[in-house]
Point group: C2
Chain length 455, copies 2
Amino acid sequence: MMNVSNIIERIRELISDDTLVQLKDELNGYHSADLADIFVELRPDERLECFKLLELEKAADLVEYLSPQLQVELLGDIDEEVASKIITKLPHDAAADVLGDMEDDESETYLDKLPHKFSAEVRELLTYNEDTAGGIMNPIVLTVNSDMSVLDVLNHIRIKAEKDNMELYYVYVVDKQNHLLGVVSLRKLLTSPINQKVEDIMISDIVKLHVDDYSDYVTDVFTKYQYNALPVVDLYNRLKGMITWDDVQDLVEEETTEEIYQSSGISTELADEDEILSGNIFHAIRARTPWLFITLLGEFIAVHVAHHFDSTLAALPIVAIFMPLLAGLGGNIGTQSITLMVRGFSTGQVSLSSALYHIFREMFVGLCIGILFGALVTLATWGWQHNIELGLVVGLAMAINMTMATVIGTFTPFALKTLKVDPAVASGPVIATTIDVVGLAVYFTLVSTFLIKII
Amino acid sequence: MMNVSNIIERIRELISDDTLVQLKDELNGYHSADLADIFVELRPDERLECFKLLELEKAADLVEYLSPQLQVELLGDIDEEVASKIITKLPHDAAADVLGDMEDDESETYLDKLPHKFSAEVRELLTYNEDTAGGIMNPIVLTVNSDMSVLDVLNHIRIKAEKDNMELYYVYVVDKQNHLLGVVSLRKLLTSPINQKVEDIMISDIVKLHVDDYSDYVTDVFTKYQYNALPVVDLYNRLKGMITWDDVQDLVEEETTEEIYQSSGISTELADEDEILSGNIFHAIRARTPWLFITLLGEFIAVHVAHHFDSTLAALPIVAIFMPLLAGLGGNIGTQSITLMVRGFSTGQVSLSSALYHIFREMFVGLCIGILFGALVTLATWGWQHNIELGLVVGLAMAINMTMATVIGTFTPFALKTLKVDPAVASGPVIATTIDVVGLAVYFTLVSTFLIKII
């Protein structure tokens, strides 16, 4: 790909030299995806100046590649008439996304300026929940009737697709009331005899989505069936639009981000994903506090467990210094187990039916690594403190702790899944705390059983 | 979608009733993606029995949806002649993947049985590194010459695409030596006048891949430009194949899994991703040990820090019980910061140029949450131990610890990125350990400065 910082430098030179004709020429020559990368790195004033130099088509194409914040920023800062023209050139779903991200009165202004038909269609899209298939789909779909011939369809495409700037993957076959009857791929269309009837080449066993399907279901269906595009119907099987794989690509990225955020206890329900990284800082704080608070409560239990053994601690203060070692490694290997299970559930490699297999497998992994690390810790402590009993107790605690951590880390996601709770939610912090509590209890019990008696 | 467990039950009934005609009928009626879900849940013997009942076309289609392990298992267990026929029906890239996953002598047996042309093409694919564009691409691409008319191309498609079972997204324009000159989308083809020359409607500014490009570059290009398919050329710009978005979808899922594994210190370089979850258990142990070992070394430093203050601990053993609380919350909020940065780097929302912004933003988040949690801890400790000085010291340590944890968690990924090290690698465990060390040092310093003197 290209070196963005060199290009940025060149753009700044051209701006400061005021050679705008040259700049305009160069900007319009870039691929819109490259332009998007460039625009992200420009300062807002430079961004606006460059955006104004783009041809309408290019500007519309660029807008599709930009983040919602930049879309609203740029369209809000240019002339309203020009902005309306750019929005009109967007696919309907992209236009609805842009308008949906604006303030209500601002989007109303634009909707009033847009061509009537376009505006009405976009308004309809805006009535759907943006997290459902209805809110994601593009309503402009190429439809044909089942009694048309291949040649009819090809002629129909020639007229319609050009005029409506239509995305073309499949041709959808509908009846007069727009009920979805079948689908024909372009490949089938291009390789069938031109006088064949559409109904003879269409597939009528259709994988389709419903306008109210949630986005995670939409991505699941796309990931499973691997089609380029899927039709979206309403309750009565009337074709309302289609969703293409590039829309889904963005959704998958969002879902992955949510999964990763949740694993470290960042709630994506209390704040918009974008805000957590760079928006309103108090929303970000709110998104991060709940699971930290639960960790706080959990760690207070750990404090109480330790407190329960304060006579042990007073008798043998040296045992305290090994607490972070045990908690750290237990937390670490337990997090590995939970990561494997949670990720396995989302890729489909782990299912409830394999729970026992994974629990025993992880227990064995924990036992092997626990024995290895327990031995290392025993030797290190013995060599350092010249106290073999202390070394043995710490090492034994380490082995038990690591084995238990893998079991807890594996069992919990299965338990949550059985209870129909998303195992990704807050798994990490909660389990680390549980392992702290259990690990300390084991350690201090071992210490007070073996060491205190010996002393 | 469908309820797999009901279907499995029905299949078992049909097998035990020996009504195989009925079973064959039903199995062949499922979508191959659904069949793949069903096959995963069947026992190996049932799986084999069902696989043998599938028609050749269906079996080949199913194989594409199966995991490499199941592909090799099923094809290895059926008659070699039938297996060869199924492999011949696969797209070239899928055939190469299947054969590449077999033992060398096994794949040689099949390669000798396959039709000569197919076998030669698949052999060529197998010469490419499987993690490069050459190893991912499908070599069967529809090519045309620049002086052909739209009508010529449509006729050419009718013959070639049908015969070679070709994926059709774009038509690639090449010269006589197969150098890539341009690309025409099917949409453009279908909406252009039929007597227009290809060279007048082709795009010659082509986004293309090179056979030696690594898979992470391939996914980056697809994610950025959002094309359905991209051409792959060799050093001399000769067209060698194309990669389609569904191949990339699998790659993206693998990369995400690697990213998530690495964040919890599971090395994907020491063991195959599949083995970590369910393959050879000793490979899994090897993949998980290295970063645990580094954690072990790091936590020994924490132990030494604590040991440095053993007179403090002996004088005031109660302070030891707050160690897990401080380490737990510091580790937690620090992990949140690092998660945000590492994910931000992979989605492109975070870049080196915004380092200072993010460090200060996270520091502020840490400070706010730290003050809040410090106050809570102070109050809780005061109420519980009736010791306001102890409460204040623990609370202050908590606030400092959480603020420092966000700074360390944010700074480290930027530092790694500057040093051209992937920030995803082992970020989690290493930083948690660092925070343990620094946090304990701060805590014991506060304790020995304020509490011991007071006492």
